[in-house]
């Protein structure tokens, strides 16, 4: 029983992290038709900027509570800033050439990820977090680290916030309408390019946030941190249906749980099951679980 509870909660925390990464990817693809390979780098940068902030503010090797929350803010801002730079500087000139957009996000992802290695060297870094976060709470006999709960809570907040944004705000409407028919949104006199930048920045912010929490979850970071998780986020996005935030949330839960439970039995079964799931979804429901019939 305690193993089941532990695996479930850890799986949900993993799902929360994937969701933070996937939600932005999904929105970006929904609106702009861009498969953003740079997203993993925003995640890596979120993790590194969080680590760096804590390293600057707290005495070596410890993480104070204020430092941790400051780190989360810094990670979010850094993610948003990098995303804005990539969108405006690299993607915008290439809107007429979709394949090259994918390629340039690949290049940006590679360059930005390697930049962390250039600045902070390639070795893994231990992520110092406040004790109350790495301590465990006992639930139904399972000892679960507290950062799992924080991660899940953060993802739920983000999910609620995004749904409100999409349903209630004008920019949310623009994003949803743009995902359906970009040209018609333009023909209503709306500057869709600004919406592109906004969505990219928002996605970058969420990836940065996810990177900071991901660092707390795994306890250490290295330059390949983002690219490893990006692949799973892609799978989440496809299974959930490109452009659907709710779909991403559902798919993230499926993937997070499948991975945790699978890998508990053998070290590779979880990862393998996920790929099979992806293949099955694509063959049976090519639009994803919550996908529209685009």
């Amino acid at each position: 029983m305690s193993t089941f509870v532990l695996l479930t909660l850890t799986g949900l925390a993993l799902a929360a992290m994937y969701f933070l990464l996937a939600a932005g990817l999904s929105l970006i693809f929904g609106l702009m038709d861009v498969l953003n390979f740079a997203h993993g780098a925003f995640f890596t940068w979120g993790a590194y900027s969080a680590w760096w902030t804590i390293d600057q503010v707290s005495p070596a090797g410890t993480g104070s509570t204020p430092a941790f929350f400051l780190a989360i803010v810094v990670a979010t801002v850094v993610g948003a800033a990098l995303a804005t730079i990539v969108e405006v500087g690299l993607l915008r000139p290439l809107y007429a050439r979709p394949i090259f957009q994918v390629l340039v996000t690949l290049g940006a992802g590679l360059t930005l990820s390697q930049l962390t290695s250039v600045i902070w060297r390639p070795d893994a870094r231990v992520f110092a977090q406040p004790n109350w976060l790495s301590d465990t709470s006992t639930i139904l006999g399972a000892r679960v680290p507290n950062n799992r709960f924080l991660l899940i809570a953060a993802a739920l907040l983000v999910l609620a916030g995004m749904l409100l944004f999409l349903k209630k705000t004008r920019y949310g409407l623009i994003v949803r309408a743009g995902a359906e028919n970009r040209e018609m949104v333009r023909a209503l006199g709306i500057d869709v390019d600004r919406a592109f930048t906004l969505v990219f920045a928002l996605g970058g912010a969420l990836a940065g946030l996810g990177g900071a929490f991901g660092a707390a979850y795994f306890g250490s970071i290295d330059p390949s941190f983002g690219s490893v998780n990006l692949i799973f986020a892609f799978i989440v996005v496809v299974i959930g249906g490109l452009g659907s935030v709710t779909g991403s949330a559902l798919a993230a839960v499926v993937i997070g749980l499948a991975q945790q439970f699978g890998n508990y039995y053998t070290s590779w079964a979880g990862d393998f099951v996920i790929v099979l799931l992806l293949a099955a979804v694509l063959l049976l429901r090519p639009g994803g679980l919550m996908g529209s019939t685009r």
Binding site: L35, F234, V238, W268, A279, L282
Partner: protein
């Protein structure tokens, strides 16, 4: 009178036509050339280290060339190509080590395995299109990387990799002294693969591939099934990549998980973009250049010259991948046709074969000031 007929008659045109032949002959005799090429190569050209550097470049060239049949010529963006190169490396390595097969059956097993794998992955993935295809193939590549990296079935040696079992190999393939033989093996494989690819892209099948790249719907309207032709491209390019992987196995004296992951496919894409996706020889040149820089930059970064530079310069220089990332972005933004695009007008024999295949930039939507 067209430009081409003019150039054929001038001596300059003749030189350009002969250039590839000269390059080829030069490459064939490199293992017997005891010349020093300062800066570019360490020691005489025929030193085993230099021969291996070039030969590994050839095998990567095969992988990039085969990848470009799919990407550049058919317009299919797959992220799973490393799987097939990796199959070429791992399958014979496993047969040689664990089952103690001899070389020929091991290689045949590798080729068959790689081809079947390409058929299976292609048949499934090609039911989707565009970004979906990119992601599905990415996922398959990831599955492959997991199988290899986690040492499923105790066959692959996990992260450690699998060293080549030399006991069953013929003498001429074993040991540093025989690097020249491996060099020729790699070069001949490259030439054979190149000719095969050339034959394919100039055949009616190649025309259909180009048709699919330009406009799949039109191909459909001609009564052809794009799926079948894309699958053919997928399987052939996969099988050719497997060949490259098999040669690589002997040069690297073993298999490491590096050659299966999605990152390796990204590297292939990088080579193709550096070289230019519009031609056959471009990706080979791109792969050679990539590998050369990869190795030489790493050596160079360790040198005193770099160490004496301020950290702002020396640190990025120590990270070839960072430099490649920057180069990649610049190429995509400003020189999307790569090396081959830059020289496309010069190398005549290639241009009149592949002239039509050079990627045309799309017309920008929205208001332009042309």
């Amino acid at each position: 009178m067209t430009a081409r007929t003019v150039s054929k008659m001038t001596p300059g045109g003749l030189v350009r036509s002969l250039a590839p032949v000269v390059v080829l002959l030069l490459l064939l005799v490199v293992p017997r050339l005891s010349i020093e090429v300062p800066v570019l190569f360490n020691g005489p050209l025929d030193r085993p280290g230099n021969l291996r550097l070039l030969a590994v470049g050839f095998t990567l060239g095969i992988a990039a060339l085969s990848y470009n049949l799919l990407f550049g010529f058919t317009g299919v963006l797959s992220f799973g190509h490393a799987l097939f190169f990796g199959a070429g490396v791992y399958l014979p390595a496993i047969a040689l080590r664990h089952w103690e097969w001899s070389v020929v059956p091991s290689l045949l097993f590798g080729l068959a395995g790689g081809t079947v794998l390409a058929l299976a992955v292609g048949a499934l993935s090609l039911r989707t299109e565009g970004v979906y295809l990119a992601m599905v193939t990415l996922a398959f590549a990831q599955a492959g990387a997991v199988i290899v990296g986690k040492n499923v079935g105790d066959l692959t040696g996990g992260e450690e990799g699998l060293s080549l079992r030399t006991r069953g190999l013929p003498e001429w393939m074993v040991g540093v002294v025989n690097t020249d033989n491996l060099y020729w093996m790699a070069l001949v494989t490259l030439i054979v693969v190149y000719l095969l690819a050339w034959r394919l892209v100039t055949s009616p099948v190649g025309q259909v591939w180009k048709g699919i790249r330009e406009n799949e719907r039109r191909v459909e309207m001609l009564g052809l099934r794009p799926y079948v032709f894309k699958l053919l491209a997928f399987v052939i390019s996969g099988a050719l990549a497997t060949c490259g992987g098999m040669v690589y196995l002997f040069l690297a004296s073993g298999a490491t998980p590096r050659v299966v992951g999605a990152n390796f496919t990204v590297t292939l894409l990088l080579m193709v973009i550096i070289g230019g996706s519009g031609s056959l020889w471009g990706p080979v040149a791109g792969a050679m250049l990539y590998h050369f820089l990869d190795i030489r930059l790493t050596d160079w970064a360790a040198s005193d010259t770099v160490a004496s530079l301020p950290a702002v310069l020396s640190r990025p220089l120590r990270d070839p991948l960072f430099i490649f990332g920057v180069i990649f972005i610049l190429l995509v933004m400003f020189f999307p046709r790569g090396i081959a695009g830059a020289f496309g007008g010069r190398l005549r024999p290639f241009r009149h074969v592949f002239g039509g295949a050079v990627a045309r930039p799309a017309v920008a939507p929205g208001k332009t000031t042309e």
